[in-house]
Amino acid sequence: MTRTLVVIGNGMVGHHLVRTLTERGGDWRIVVLAEEPRPAYDRVALSSYVDGWDASKLSLAPVDVETRLGDKVVEIDREARKVVTEQGFVTDYDALVLATGSYPFVPPVPGHDLPNCYVYRTIEDLDAIRAHGGVNGVVIGGGLLGLEAANALRLMGVRPQVVELAPRLMPLQIDEGGGALLRREVLRLGLDVHCGVSVASVGEDRVVLSDGSELPADIVVFSAGVRPRDDLARRFGLEVGERGGIVVDAACRTSDESIYAIGECACIDGRVYGLVAPGYAMADVVADQLSGGAKVFPGADTSTKLKLLGVDVASFGDAHAVSPGALEVVHNDPVSGSYKKIVVSDDAGTLLGGVLVGDASSYATLRAYVGRPLPADPGSLIAPAGVANTALPDDAQVCSCHAVTKADIVAAIGTGCADVPSLKVCTKAGTGCGSCVPTLKQLLTSCGVEQSKALCEHFPQSRAELFEIIHATGIRTFSQLVAEHGSGSGCDLCKPVVASILASLNSGHVLEGEQAALQDTNDHFLANLQRNGTYSVVPRIPGGEITPQKLMVIAEVAQDFGLYTKITGGQRIDLFGATVDQLPLIWRRLVDAGFESGHAYGKALRTVKSCVGSTWCRYGVQDSVGLAIELELRYRGLRSPHKLKAGVSGCARECAEARSKDFGVIATEQGWNLYVGGNGGFTPRHADLLVSDVDTETLIRTIDRFVMFYVRTADRLQRTSAWIEAMEGGLDHLRDVIVEDSLGIAAELEKAMAAHVRDYADEWRGVLEDPVKLARFSSFVNAPGVPDPSISFREERGQRVPVQLGIPEVMAR
């Protein structure tokens, strides 16, 4: 039977509840009643609205439930289980959730209700402040929100002064030492701060302080704390806390069985939390309870880290050292503008909390240690360059597919996630495009969680170790390898890795014998799978150079098979929309015209991008196209831990963007400079100079060594950039190995590359010549030639594009 859940309030927490509940499925009909006139948005990011005034940038994932916007609930009839809104809308409920948040507290000083007085909580508040404008502004309250408001004013062109009653800024979060530094930094940015005074009255153009002084003020923003919106609860007889907030138990239930309260309006364990994370935790509890679960509020982490006016501020755990016997260890460096304090247990063995101002780079790691034994002696943790950590700020989105920040990941690690699969379950990070998985691993490592190097549940070895095993033992089948060195029957992680290693070791065609079963679908059909189940075809166009004749062949093939045609970002042409049974027919035509596979589907060399170079360009100093073609033909078909991209530019203007490639070559008057470890994509990185001014022969020898060393020792799906960054000794070590041959393996690496060059054969030609392989290219084993009937096309801008397959039964999550 469908029951009705009514949610009052569509703020961040109410929205989180509705989203979680709908994702879980179940039989609740959900009705959301919202006072604000717009769909739920990211209030935490409210200040960023000033940058562009684009409210859509704050939107949260829409949820498809009945929602009444701009209509506030004014009555709850608990007896009849009904709520009534201001506009007279009445709805019954079986369960009711109050998620009404809080309102900004405005101290009742004389003049507080003048037209130049504002609060800072909603998009409408910011619009109003902007519309009012002015030259001088005063922000009342020097806490987190006050400083954000001051900064927002500054960005609107108003000169703000901040008034704080406490003797320091952000009194709730940070201590005196940190406050002093924060104040210094804020002053340096041209913001006036008045601490230890209160506001006596507000006038139309000024604010009078308790010490009698006056500040000019065209506009006044009150940011003196928030109060829970518990008015409905009070009026309709629910228990409220002594200092406000709707009292709830650990299951977030109010004194009425069928009414819950969550977020900033709730008082749980005698506390009202003004942060979003505890609110989300409460929403999760209620979602679980409503789905028949028994989850209870786990307690909240009130750690915060923010960047205020460019100054990092973080506090975590017992920041004020109130635990009995707590000791404080402080490192204060006013010159570089960094204040760090950690609070440890009386035996200095356990980390309890801390405050970081100026340089909060160690926050993620330190926070993960709270309540745990310290990894090192306390002093060294906060000494300059103490805890190694990635450069990512805490609010950086690690996973853009699921909007998971570094803080979320670190919090999940703190609650016990010890590997990537459990992080995926806990946070959803890594379950979209997968690009962020390497970062997840880095974060695990930087939080001190020992990473298993096991490839997957079937092999305890790393990819590099498996490479050595296969290389040394001569084992050339997966079944033998898994029987002798692993367990089980393999999976989608280890099978493609082994297939790739076998291919790197020149073991014949990738679809030969048992190897065929190991390949990912892309490699299995030597084409890229698209969202509707069709494939794309990318012929190799070495260096991006192509004759008009060959262009015509591509055009004809595209026309005859009705393929959508697009120039790729890699200087070649992609033909989309081929069904499995069309692939061999298409390739027969392409191979006959002299094309080869472009390996767009493989973890292999992709393109060597070129610029036009000295042949045509008035600035070019070497033949960049010629070299790019030579390199592309040399390394084509080489299977590697991840895809490999390269570029060659004819002069330092760098039109081929070689420094964003795994290896990039830039021409000099004397020869070539070689750069390695560049990356575009998810985490862009400029390549580092490995050797300079070398001749072509030396260049190629060096690239041979570099690429083979990478193929042998990198992890699964680790681009060269991440490989070098993870390498002990980094670039210097790499240079020792590659240039100085410090490991004595250079000759072997070169030999391996020579073997690759010798044994290369076009994979598509291989398929066309072998009837057994060809036979696999049919949509249906019992109906060869019949295309998949679920695929259909429509036309857009003169080309065929897929008709979307409709909303998947399971929404992408």
Partner: protein, 113 residues
């Protein structure tokens, strides 16, 4: 045998046509598409339809095991489905249809579910 045959069986291919550790797609008379897998422990047939992408591609996934349970992994967004039951390992609320299958005189026959 006197049992009433309620099931319709469709012969899809010869057993040897199947590559060990891999799937193929087959079309049933009612227009449904199925994925037929040959693994160490025998034959399995699931719907070819991937509920996470709506594409008919499960036959093209990699076959292996998760904690010893034989699975196929969708090639689109990589969810694993139990070969024996069609249950999705990554999301207990999702399953694809599983079909009966037998080898008859060297031919693979798929039954209605």
């Amino acid at each position: 045998m006197t049992a009433v045959q309620e099931r319709t069986w469709t012969t899809v291919c010869r057993f040897e046509q199947l590559l060990p550790g891999r799937g193929v797609a087959a079309l049933l008379p009612d227009g449904e598409q199925v994925a037929v897998f040959r693994t160490e422990d025998g034959l399995h047939v699931l719907s070819n339809h991937d509920p996470f992408s709506s594409a008919a591609v499960l036959s093209r996934g990699i076959v292996g095991d998760r904690g010893g349970v034989p699975v196929v992994v969708s090639p689109v967004y990589k969810q694993a489905f139990e070969l024996a039951t069609g249950r999705c390992v990554d999301d207990a609320s999702v399953a694809v249809t599983s079909y009966p299958v037998e080898v008859w005189d060297g031919y693979v026959r798929v039954g209605s579910p």
